[in-house]
């Protein structure tokens, strides 16, 4: 019973660790070459020496760009209390950005409304404008004519001119540094890039003190900027790379080892750690790690991997089997599994479609498939024959599961039977799937 309790406790502790990215990245933040210290240097120089910087954090997803930034910001908050305002924008959140801004500004509540309101309005309006701009240039230009009616639109007219003064005000008087965090930076580069232009241009003035941090997984994000915007951008780039295999393993060890000074019973900790080290050193575990990092070596993936491996924890210790289960749950083959669930008729249809493709028929619709089905039926003299309407239902089912798809998005008015379709499975996959299917004739 006691063992059970301590196991649960340990599980909670480890899960907490896994879910807080700050912990993981703080482990690797001390070396001078790390992105953490570089970023911190850049941002703190913008606070201390009033160097207005703009930085791009680039790297594949799951490498901890945001986590490191958060860590840096947290440190800066500690170091220079009351001197930093962070404004976060996400390129994906369009309309909801208003809320996001309010949330991010809430720590500095001592801002009077006077400042807060234009900010919120500015962002809100800007978001609308940009979104519309992305979808339709025309709507955007027309929108200005509505300004007489709506307060928001009036605000929008001034939004761009506001920004520099707001920054200036804050810096000049409140002695604050504004740090703009633009997540999904590449999405901000759509449209006319007004936001970026005015941000970066405002940073050129003497009195303002601001930093722009763009985060993107597109490596060519800075090439997306317009020329005049790029010229104003101070090209700081930090590249976040996935860690190497050895680093991954070290990291995993650091995460999973229980601390010796926790509330857990001492003997449990010792036993737990010993077993864990044993596993980690083992050859078979190395294989698992190889397979894992083979496809995706990012830290995020590692976390997901190790989070899963606690699913069954009855004995109170992590076993090799847990890791194996975790790996197989990560590396799934959805298409093949999908094939396993298909009915015989659906498989028939798939096979028919494949045969049609082998015959180099470029496009075909349900009727053609039906014809093929009938010909198979006649040539092989199988016992099961289904009516046309049943086949159609199976066909639609396949469509819904996206095993097959329509060739184009046009012609919604046409009924399902006549629209050209395409098989999304390769013959190879189909073959594999059929092989693994037990009851296949």
């Amino acid at each position: 019973m006691e063992r059970q309790n301590s196991a649960e406790e340990a599980l909670i502790l480890l899960r907490i660790r896994l879910c807080t990215p700050n912990f993981i990245f703080s482990l690797s933040s001390d070396s001078p070459d790390s992105n953490y210290s570089k970023l911190k240097f850049i941002l703190s120089s913008s606070v201390v020496e009033a160097c207005n910087n703009s930085v791009l954090l680039l790297g594949p997803r799951g490498c901890g760009k945001i986590a490191v930034l958060e860590l840096v910001l947290e440190d800066l908050f500690k170091e220079f209390p009351d001197m930093i305002t962070v404004i976060k924008l996400n390129g994906l959140l369009h309309n909801d950005d208003n809320c996001a801004i309010k949330a991010s500004l809430s720590p500095c509540r001592n801002f009077i409304k006077l400042i807060l309101v234009p900010y919120a309005v500015f962002l809100f309006v800007d978001e609308i404008a940009r979104q519309l701009c992305v979808e339709h240039e025309l709507i955007f230009s027309k929108m200005a004519s509505f300004d007489d009616n709506s307060q928001f639109m009036v605000a929008m007219l001034h939004a761009y001119t506001y920004l520099p003064y707001l920054i200036t005000r804050e810096c000049g008087l409140a002695h604050k540094t504004v740090i703009f965090v633009l997540d999904e930076f590449d999405l901000f580069t759509q449209g006319k890039q007004r936001l970026l232009y005015s941000l970066l241009d405002a940073m050129q003035s003497v009195t303002s003190q601001a930093a722009v941090v763009g985060i993107s997984c597109r490596l060519d994000a800075d090439q997306l900027l317009e020329k005049r915007v790029r010229s104003r951008f101070s090209h700081r780039k930090l590249l976040f790379l996935p860690p190497s295999k050895e680093d991954l393993q070290r990291l995993l060890k650091q995460i999973l080892l229980l601390p010796s000074d926790s509330t857990l019973p001492q003997d449990y900790i010792v036993e737990f750690n010993a077993r864990l080290l044993n596993i980690l050193a083992g050859e078979r575990f190395k294989d698992i790690m190889d397979k894992l990092s083979c496809s995706d070596p990012t830290i995020n993936n590692l976390l997901r991997f190790s989070a899963v491996c606690f699913m069954d924890l009855k004995s109170g210790f992590i076993s090799l089997e847990n890791f194996k289960a975790a790996l197989s749950s990560i590396q799934r083959q959805p298409k093949l599994e999908c094939l396993k669930d298909c009915s015989i008729l659906e498989l028939y249809i798939l096979v028919c479609m494949k045969r049609l493709e082998v015959k180099e028929q470029e496009s075909y619709n349900f009727n053609a498939v039906m014809k093929e089905y009938r010909s198979i039926h006649e040539s092989f003299q199988t016992s099961d024959h289904y009516s046309r309407s049943v086949c159609l239902r199976a066909f639609e089912h396949l469509l819904q599961r996206e095993v097959i798809a329509f060739l184009d998005n046009r012609g919604h008015s046409q009924s399902v039977e006549f629209r050209p379709v395409k098989l999304l499975l390769s013959p190879h996959e189909l073959y594999q799937g059929l092989k693994s299917y037990r009851s296949c004739p």
Partner: protein
């Protein structure tokens, strides 16, 4: 003497007056809403020269028991007649045009202000020079026996040594018996004189309802010559603070913030009130006797100068207030000292914060601009959307010295203590270099653009100095970062100094950035606002501007000045039918317009891209800013770094050569050097943790840092990413290259690629991971834009294409340790 309803202006007409105070409006009689405990009796005559009467409350002296007995010992310096002249003759002698007064005020507030202003300047600009002083801000302060809080209104002494104003009676004397006494007094609505009820003829029993004018005023109105009873000999007619204020011997101020300076003295920031005489229009017939205007003019003053409280109220409170004593004033409008325009306060306060905010923004900006000009510490990179030079009006000067004040709201928060250690350390050479290389810091001189600036100067002078001032148009183009805007602004600065010295006629200058307009049409709005100070919708603005430019100058005084319009990022104004550009460029061709347009854009052939009718109006005169060559860049950098020993000579040359080869963008060159300095700084700080002063001082920014900075700026990081990506992605990429060589087509589908991958895998003893995993890998690469791909839902039909040359891929993957066999497929 029967209480009657008084005519009062309706709301609507008041709004109108807010805009045009100088026009006399038809007065629509309307019953007064609240009948007050005020006295008075006849409907005031409607003769235009007489001021609009108000009801004034009776002021029982018992409310101010402290100063029951005003000092009367002084010999009388003010003869009665004098007083009559000042307060009874209507209209009063105009005080506002007196040039000495504002100047005095300016001087004084400037001298007082210098210290805090300097302090803030230093904090704002050169943070490391001086440790920021601490100021303590208060909400409420007990000072000199009175309690002053933020938001109070107070009298402020106008002259430091006005000895005759020593005594400060809080209670007015009766004009008949010249005693203040306890008896109830009544105030004439016309001359604001107080009378004891019992001293009147016939005596009143109680304060009558409605308005009341004294017998003297009535008599005067009916044309009789009246004489006030003379005061008894040896007794001075004491002027109250209110009278002094209204005859502009005192000022009223609205306290915006109070703080204690480091040296222990108390200061406050005030917002001036103005009496109608001080405004541009002078006292208007519709001005009430106790009416004040709130200005948007601020100044810092010492608490010493505060006399005591007064009460400025809005009309609503004013109608309710009856017994507050003498120091009650009405304030309904805000007076914009720059535009000399009026604005209803209620609109400003309750309506959109937006309005006021932006107003003060503009003004603040404007102030800042003029102020910085005065200080020779110019920051012209700052976007000054409005940049007007209204000659040498006193308001201008006033605005300049009150620059700090506009940000009243933030002041309260800004009172935070700044950690001393943060900005207080000695700068190393490299840090200095970093600071000077900032884009924001401005060099004293602009090297390498002499020819162009001369050309612009010549163009503008040519356009202005001709008496006809033909409209002209100049198109400036060049790649980003070649100093286009900077040069034009520098020219404008030089010209302004010439205006100040009087060699050129004044002009107005409007600067607009096309990218900062929400939509192209808004440019009309902005222009009109800059020219006239009024904010209207863009359609109306267009109409008004059309009128102005086509029909020539009207009688207004400002309209005569030529106008220079600088439009940055001109290409952003191109709409579908190009009407905005057409309009703007059409104005200069009108004979009366006096408009000069300078357009700045990047593209060289913008006029050719436009409709012929526009290009014929615009393309006449062009100026090209060619990219800097490396010598010029070198000069720019070294001129900035003059006196700072932080860079190696070759390093600068290397950077400038590199930039000149790519773009010739000065911004970029500066950024590279700054980044290099930053890298060096970083290296030093990290390596020398035990601080060794000597090693840090002699450290120079060398080639390696510049090289690294250039690498960071110009090199795409894809090779690094490819090297570090997973094994499967490497195989994936190799398969793509292989496919490319095999087929010669740059585009391939996922199906074909998967076949290749599986071939490669089986022939090299790798396990083929399965199609779905492969698809995931492909999508990941697509996210990083190493591979261009369609959405993953297309699966087998997904089209793939390498985003970088295949040589890059093979270079990156050639010597990978994980999969050495990949090389043979590359």
């Amino acid at each position: 003497m029967s209480p009657t309803t008084t005519p009062k202006r309706s709301k609507k007409s008041q709004v109108n007056t807010a805009l045009k105070p100088s026009s006399t409006l038809p007065q629509t009689p309307q019953p007064r809403r609240s009948s007050r405990l005020v006295s008075s009796l006849d409907p005031p005559p409607q003769s235009p020269p007489s001021p609009q009467p108000t009801t004034r409350s009776s002021r029982p002296p018992s409310l101010n028991p402290i100063s029951q007995t005003p000092k009367k010992s002084n010999p009388d310096p003010y003869p009665v007649n004098d007083f009559f002249d000042q307060s009874l003759s209507s209209p009063l002698p105009p005080v506002s045009p007196d040039p000495s007064e504002p100047k005095k005020r300016k001087k004084r507030s400037e001298s007082i202000q210098t210290k805090p202003a300097k302090n803030e300047n230093i904090e704002g600009k050169r943070r490391n020079v001086e440790a920021p002083r601490k100021r303590v801000y208060y909400k409420k302060v007990s000072y000199d026996g009175g309690e002053f809080a933020i938001g109070n209104d107070v009298y402020v002494k106008r002259r430091e040594n006005a000895s005759s104003d020593e005594e400060d009676p809080e209670v007015e004397e009766c004009r008949v018996c010249f005693k203040s006494g306890r008896a109830v007094m009544i105030e004439c609505d016309d001359c604001l004189c107080g009378f004891h009820l019992k001293c009147l003829k016939p005596p009143l029993k109680e304060v009558p309802e409605g308005d009341w004018t004294c017998g003297f005023c009535e008599a005067r109105r009916s044309g009789k010559r009246v004489e006030f009873p003379r005061p008894p000999r040896g007794k001075k007619r004491v002027r109250t603070a209110r009278e002094k204020l209204l005859s502009s011997d005192l000022w009223a101020v609205h306290i915006e913030s109070i703080w204690k300076e480091v040296d222990g003295s108390f200061w406050f920031r005030g917002r001036w009130y103005m009496i109608p005489e001080e405004t541009a229009g002078g006292r208007q017939p519709h001005n009430l006797r106790r009416e004040l205007y709130r200005t948007n003019d601020y100044a810092d003053n010492e608490m010493e100068s505060i006399l005591r409280h007064c009460y400025v109220m809005n009309p609503k409170e004013f109608t309710k207030a009856n017994n507050e004593g003498d120091d009650v004033f009405l304030c309904e409008y805000e007076y914009d000292i720059r535009w000399l325009s009026f604005k209803r306060i209620a609109d400003i306060d309750s309506g959109e914060e937006d309005g006021e905010d932006s107003d003060s923004d503009e003004d603040w900006k404007f102030c800042q601009d003029s102020d910085s000009a005065a200080e020779e510490d110019v920051n012209y990179e700052k976007e000054n959307r409005l940049n007007l030079f209204p000659g040498s009006s006193p308001a201008h000067a006033l605005a300049a010295n009150s620059r700090k004040g506009q940000i009243f709201g933030l002041q309260k928060i800004g009172a935070k203590k700044i950690p001393e250690h943060v900005r207080y350390h000695k700068q190393t050479e490299i840090e200095k270099a970093k600071a000077t290389l900032l884009l924001a810091t401005l060099p004293k001189s602009l090297p390498c653009r002499n020819k162009e600036t001369e050309e612009i100067t010549a163009f503008i002078k040519d356009a202005i100095c001709n008496d006809q001032c033909l409209g002209r148009c100049l198109y400036v183009h060049g790649v980003p970062g070649t100093g286009k805007t900077m040069s034009v602004l520098a020219v404008m600065r030089n010209l302004r100094s010439e205006v100040d010295s009087g060699s050129i006629k004044p002009y107005c200058f409007v600067e607009i950035n096309g990218l900062k307009l929400a939509s192209p049409e808004n440019i009309y709005r902005v222009i009109y606002e800059a020219l006239s100070g009024h904010r209207v919708s863009w359609k109306k603005a267009l109409h008004l501007l059309n009128e102005r430019f086509s029909s020539g100058p009207k009688s207004g005084k400002e309209d005569n000045r030529p106008c220079i319009l600088l439009i940055d990022e001109l290409d952003l104004l191109v709409t579908r039918n190009q009407s905005v550009l057409y309009n703007i460029l059409d104005w200069p061709t009108k004979p009366q317009s006096k408009l000069i347009v300078i357009g700045i854009a990047n593209t060289m052939d913008l006029p050719e891209k436009l409709l012929p009718r526009i290009s014929s109006r615009m393309g006449m005169q062009r100026l090209c800013f060619s990219p800097y060559n490396y010598l010029q860049l070198q000069e720019i950098i070294s001129s900035r770094l003059k006196g700072i020993d932080a860079f190696e000579k070759q390093a600068i040359e290397f950077a400038s050569r590199k930039v000149a080869a790519v773009s010739g963008d000065a911004r970029r060159a500066l950024e590279i050097c700054r980044r290099a300095a930053e890298l060096a700084d970083y290296r030093i700080k990290k390596s020398a943790l035990p601080p060794i002063g000597a090693s840090a001082a002699k450290a120079l920014v060398g080639m390696s840092e510049v090289e690294a900075a250039i690498q960071e700026m110009f090199q795409a990081p894809h090779i690094q990413v490819m090297r570090s990506c997973s094994k499967l992605s490497k195989i994936f990429l190799a398969a793509m290259v292989h496919e490319l060589y095999k087929t010669g087509m740059s585009e391939t589908t996922f199906e074909k690629l998967a076949m290749t991958v599986s071939c490669i895998c089986t022939s090299n003893g790798e396990t083929f991971p399965g199609w779905d995993t492969l698809l995931k890998v492909g999508c990941k690469l697509g996210e990083c834009r190493i591979v261009l791909c369609e959405a993953g839902a297309k699966h087998r039909l997904q089209k793939l294409q390498l985003n970088f040359p295949s040589d890059d891929v093979s270079f990156a993957l050639k010597d990978s340790k994980e999969v050495p066999w990949l090389a043979k497929y590359l």
